[in-house]
């Protein structure tokens, strides 16, 4: 990510706004069901077993991204502590815990047109009935892989690999012009 993404206009449109989310702890957690259970205990937030669902508490979230893969989100300062805690909690259970905090950049997309904006480039059905609040998945946005999490009817979080952030910011800016 370089200048372009950082230069996003903050919450420009009333119908839709696109903003960067603050830095965060991001951990990729991999393992079987027992590992997931143990991890949930150490992490303090459920790791959903249901496909494409996220669980969240006040400060943490766990996004199901694959049958043995979760993205754990937490405040930025907690990385080391969480890695230690989960590592300790799972000493005997095979798993993989990898810090990917800096790998990704998060965007918040909000507003009544948020889903429409995403659908300029995302081929999923984002109707709330098909993609309810709490659903998350990796998918594509135009020419880029993203992870998408619906946090509210009109609020999405988009996680993209950092070198694609400029692209995503630029893309959304152009796509917003084409709403209407």
């Amino acid at each position: 990510m370089t200048m372009a993404a950082r230069a996003l206009p903050p919450g420009a449109g009333a119908l839709v706004s696109v903003a960067l989310v603050p830095p965060a702890t991001r951990l990729s957690f991999r393992g079987g069901p027992d590992a997931a259970e143990a991890c949930a205990a150490a992490f303090g937030c459920d790791l959903p077993r249901r496909a494409c669902r996220a669980a969240a508490t006040e400060a943490r979230a766990a996004l199901w991204l694959g049958p043995d893969e979760w993205l754990l989100l937490a405040p930025e300062a907690e990385t080391a502590a969480l890695v230690a805690a989960i590592g300790a909690g799972l000493a005997a259970v095979p798993h993989a815990l990898v810090d990917v905090s800096h790998r990704q950049v998060g965007f918040a997309i909000a507003g009544t047109q948020a889903a429409t904006l995403l659908n300029t480039g995302c081929p999923l059905d984002l109707d709330p009935a098909a993609f309810p609040v709490g659903m998350c998945t990796r998918t594509v946005l135009a020419k880029c892989d993203v992870a998408l999490w619906r946090r509210g009817v009109d609020l999405f979080r988009l996680e993209v690999n950092r070198s694609f952030a400029d692209y995503v910011a630029g893309y959304l800016r152009v796509a917003e012009r084409g709403l209407g």
Partner: protein
């Protein structure tokens, strides 16, 4: 008044909003709601262009998407110039500038019309038979230099724009329960029933207004409302129920799994385009159910000189009259095989157009239309035919006769300035057919109709072969309700139904004239006549697909919407077969042409493909770096100082690195964290090397093969702990390698407990290389003992640098003492800055990929993709020692034992030493002799070649047959200016003992 032929009232145009426009430089006035076609007709303009091949004068044949003749170019400015638009679909706006095509100097006087005189020569496929040149001019010269350029200039319809299109195009993915294509009576009823049942509904229609044929039915009523009012009420209810309504939107492609592509025109009808507004939008719709309600198009009749301006489809004339309030002529002759034309004749008569004659080609027509015409006193000839027309730039009369068998009798010429024809209606089954639905031939009505659907889809209304308003509405309603899963639709009370209308004819009318001398057009745009089709059949083109390709019938921009059925029937007649025996040509996307921009959408400029930059990019740019594209990445290529070119900069970067130190942004390297109790075993199976014994804290260079045994990727792998490895890959190979690993892990070795995580973007990498590298790094590092003993070459440590976490590798791709500093990406810029300050202070440099390449070549290190090309084995590279053949298995191992991979004579990596200062060209071939005759077998090629600032000579790496055994031999690199001699040497040019690495 917006044109002298405009009626005082009636139609859907807004006479209070006159619009000025020009056509071929002449100023005219039309009104809001007009198309360019209706506006020109209102002004009495019928001649609007010239035909493709014979340059015959042409007018409007139709009123909609099926128009083959009336093509124009509309230009807003030089870049916003668009050729080949159908004037029947161009919506009028204030200031529109349009011009006709394919004529010079003017459409009224066109020199190209000499082709019409030459037409006896220019029949179907004439170009296959000539232009080969006299036999003594061998080869293709005459064709390519003489004839082809002339033909190319003559062909081609409109003139393409010369400047880049500045407009934007948008895209939308959409999902729905029910997609309805076509907003006529049937489509509206379907959409309404679906929406009422609570289905998510999308309705699209290519017209500017929804309503289809209802827009031309001022007399019909639906559920007690005038048709137009019903349309408006239906649209309002649909909007209220949240249906997505898309006028100006054609459904152009029906793909697999109910995926339908729509093209929406957003701004072409506006006089002023809002800045930045997209011009068109591609809708990519996944529908649970699709209802096709695309209507039917009228067919022309095929008779001699049926192409003069003023010869028009009857239904089109009714549209001009009743939708646009335009009188398309003053004296009309109607020739028909279908009952609907009577309605047109009556409507025209009511509007004051003289009906010179109605010629019904059927021997015994009957029905209310005929009766009403007779009752109104219109002259009707039954069992008649038209055998020709008069006039030049506009029809002035029709030669009418009685049909008798294949001939005609009782010729008479009837004056007229409008000749309307109705051959019956062809259901628009394009999308149905695209959906892979099989058409069935209905022998009774001689039509192809949708058979069983192949996807979750239904066809309703005129496109399904039904006729009449009530039928369309009721079928639509039923299909809409069914698609929404809510049982039956409803039935509608209508007046003005015309349910009983029918009839139609396929093929040519009998004319009894010398068939060799007349031109009865079938495909108007491509100038294909009935005799062309018969010629094709005579010449052995018996398949309809051959007939199509030999005559080009149906291949014009209208894709045969008005011509296909007639040409099929004519071909069938000539073949003596039935229509279904002859078969149909294939319906393909798009339904009508769609702009390239609509497909491309936002993908232009930087959005054409993501530009990936490293976290250090901006700093490197500030330091003056020039960048190169490596896949999607921008990589710093070299860092020129004032006045330096690539070579000077690289030489300086190399010398400074070898003398002091250099720093290099290696962030794009692929990185994969391999974690789990079976991590080492997994790597054993994926790499040629053995990993079990690699101690934590140590690194190893790994070589990866594909299953056929060829080198696929390489990289340094560091072991962080018993069950944790940090694997690096090439920049370009990163996604491929991860996919390859996942593939084997998930499908071949699922029992292994190991997980792979891409950390390419988590870690930025700064290589610090050179004799002073330790001095640069050391002061910034905490928690790692950097001494040579504690931290030897090929080791990895975790600690902190500049206060942030690091994975520090002691590795070298330059042959110098080196470190690769991995830091979490957000910190990279600060760490780079700190390292740079220390490097600069010591007299070191930042270096780019080019210097990196030079230094690794001086050391004989290979680059996968440059020294290898997908046919290279480890042994070819001299890396046989890295292949642990003692391992029971690894990917590619079995293949290495295949006969050709162990055969003698394979190409092997060597160095080439060159006298003099000439740097070889990469890719140059290598021969054993200096002056190889053409066809000499090359024994190898140069893979890398550079000026080596370190050696002070050119160096090169090459793959040469038996290369290692040739060490010391002289080989030759033939170049256009003569061969360059080179001596085969080992591939390492710098510090072969590796002392500097271990410093």
């Amino acid at each position: 008044m917006t044109g002298e032929h405009r009626l005082a009232r009636g139609g859907r145009v807004d006479r209070a909003r006159p619009l000025r426009f020009t056509f071929d430089g002449h100023a005219y006035e039309g009104c809001q709601g007009d198309t360019l076609a209706s506006a020109l007709l209102a002004n009495g303009v019928h001649l609007v262009g010239r035909s493709f091949k014979y340059h015959r004068p042409r007018g409007f044949l139709a009123a909609g998407a099926e128009e083959p003749n009336a093509l124009c170019t509309v230009a807003r400015d030089r870049a916003r110039t668009e050729p080949n638009l159908r004037m029947t679909q161009v919506e009028l706006y204030e200031g529109l500038v349009a011009s006709s095509q394919n004529s010079w100097p003017a459409r009224g006087f066109d020199l190209g019309a000499v082709n019409d005189l030459l037409s006896p020569l220019l029949g179907a496929g004439f170009y296959y038979k000539t232009f080969m040149g006299p036999r003594f001019v061998k080869g293709t010269t005459l064709w390519a230099k003489l004839f082809e350029p002339v033909i190319r200039r003559a062909a081609g319809l409109g003139v393409p724009p010369k400047e880049a299109d500045p407009d934007h195009y948008a895209n939308r993915f959409a999902h729905c329960d029910v997609l309805v294509v076509g907003g006529g009576a049937a489509g509206l009823a379907a959409a309404l029933a679906a929406a009422r049942a609570g289905a998510r509904t999308i309705l699209c229609d290519e017209g500017a207004e929804m309503g289809g044929a209802l827009l031309c039915e001022p007399d019909a009523t639906v559920d007690g409302m005038p048709a137009a009012a019903w349309v408006a009420a239906t649209l309002a209810e649909l909007a209220r129920r949240g249906a997505t309504l898309l006028p100006r939107t054609q459904g152009f492609g029906y793909y697999n799994h109910n995926f339908v592509a729509l093209a929406q025109r957003l701004t072409d009808h506006l006089p002023h385009v809002p800045a930045g507004a997209p011009r068109e939008r591609l809708w990519q719709v996944r529908a649970k159910r699709v209802v096709l309600a695309t209507g039917a198009a009228e067919r022309p009749l095929v008779f001699p000189d049926n192409d003069r301006p003023g010869v028009m489809l009857a239904d089109a004339a009714r549209a001009y009259l009743q939708r646009y309030g335009v009188k398309p002529g003053t004296q009309a002759l109607v020739v028909t095989a279908h009952d609907a034309a009577y309605r047109t004749a009556l409507a025209l008569a009511r509007a004051g157009v003289k009906i010179a004659r109605i010629v019904d080609t059927r021997p015994r027509p009957a029905g209310p239309g005929l009766e009403a015409a007779r009752a109104a006193g219109l002259p009707v000839t039954v069992g008649g035919t038209v055998v020709g027309t008069t006039g030049s730039l506009r029809v002035s009369g029709a030669m009418v006769a009685q049909a008798s068998g294949t001939g005609a009798t009782d010729f008479e010429t009837v004056p007229c300035d409008l000749l309307l024809m109705s051959g019956g209606f062809t259901p628009a089954v394009h999308l149905f057919s695209q959906s892979r639905g099989k058409l069935r031939f209905d022998a009774e009505t001689q039509r192809y109709l949708p058979g069983d659907p192949a996807q979750a889809q239904a066809s309703v209304g005129a496109c399904a072969g039904s006729w009449g308003l009530a039928a369309a509405l009721d079928e639509g309603s039923a299909a809409g309700a069914a698609a929404a899963g809510s049982g039956a639709g409803r039935s509608h009370a209508v007046t003005g139904d015309h349910a009983g209308e029918g009839g139609g004819i396929l093929g040519a009318l009998p004319h009894g004239r010398d068939p060799a001398r007349v031109k009865a057009f079938v495909d108007f745009q491509n100038d294909v006549t009935a005799k062309d089709i018969k010629l094709a059949v005579r010449e052995g083109f018996r398949s309809i697909e051959h007939v199509k390709r030999y005559t080009t019938t149906g291949m014009a921009t209208d894709q045969g919407k008005t011509s296909n059925m007639n040409s099929l029937a004519i071909a069938a007649g000539a073949l003596g077969r039935t229509l279904p025996e002859v078969g149909l040509t294939t319906f393909r996307q798009p339904y009508t042409p769609v702009t390239f921009g609509t497909f491309a959408g936002a993908a232009r400029d930087d959005l054409f493909d993501p530009v990936r930059r490293t976290p250090i990019h901006d700093l490197a740019a500030a330091q003056g770096a020039r960048f190169e594209d490596v896949g999607q990445w921008k990589r710093a290529w070299y860092f020129p100082e004032a006045g330096e070119d690539l070579h000077a900069a690289v030489a300086r970067e190399v010398r400074a690195t070898r003398a002091v130190a250099g720093i290099f942004d290696a962030s794009t390297l692929g990185k994969i964290e391999v974690v789990g109790p079976d991590a080492a075993e997994f790597l054993n199976r994926l790499y040629t090397n053995a990993w079990t014994k690699l101690a934590p804290g140590r690194c190893r260079y790994g070589l990866m093969l594909d299953e056929p045994g060829f080198v696929m990727d390489d990289g340094v792998v560091g072991r962080l702990g018993p069950d944790r490895f940090h694997v690096t890959t090439t920049t370009g190979g990163a996604p491929r390698v991860l996919n390859h690993m996942e593939d084997y892990l998930q499908t071949e070795f699922p029992e292994l407990k190991v997980w792979l995580t891409s950390v390419t973007e988590q870690w930025a990498v700064i290589a610090v290389q050179g004799p002073r590298a330790r001095d640069i790094v050391a002061p910034l590092v905490e928690g790692i003992d950097l001494s040579a003993q504690a931290f030897p070459h090929m080791a990895i440590r975790e600690g902190r640098i500049c206060g942030v976490p690091t994975r520090l590798f002691r590795v070298s791709f330059t042959g110098e003492l080196g470190f690769e500093v991995n830091v979490p990406a957000d910190y990279a810029a600060a760490v780079w800055q700190a390292l740079w300050e220390r490097t600069a202070a010591l007299g070191g440099t930042a270096y780019g990929t080019e210097a990196m390449h030079v230094m690794r070549a001086e050391k004989g290190y290979v680059i996968v993709g440059q020294e290898t090309d997908g046919t290279t084995t480890p042994d070819d590279l001299g890396l046989g020692g890295m292949v642990a053949m003692s391992k029971p298995d690894f990917v590619g191992k079995r293949s290495l034992a295949r006969p050709d991979l162990v055969a003698p004579g394979r190409k092997q990596l060597v160095g080439l030493a060159i006298e003099g200062r000439t740097v070889l060209e990469e890719g140059a071939q290598i021969t054993p002799t200096a002056d190889p005759p053409v066809g000499t077998h090359a024994i190898g090629h140069v893979t890398s070649a550079y000026w080596s600032p370190t050696a002070g000579t050119p160096i090169a790496l090459a793959l040469v047959e038996n290369g290692r055994a040739r060490t010391g031999e002289t080989v030759f690199v033939p170049m256009p200016g003569g061969a360059i001699a080179a001596r085969v040497v080992g591939p390492v040019f710098h510090d072969p003992e590796g002392k500097r690495l271990n410093g």
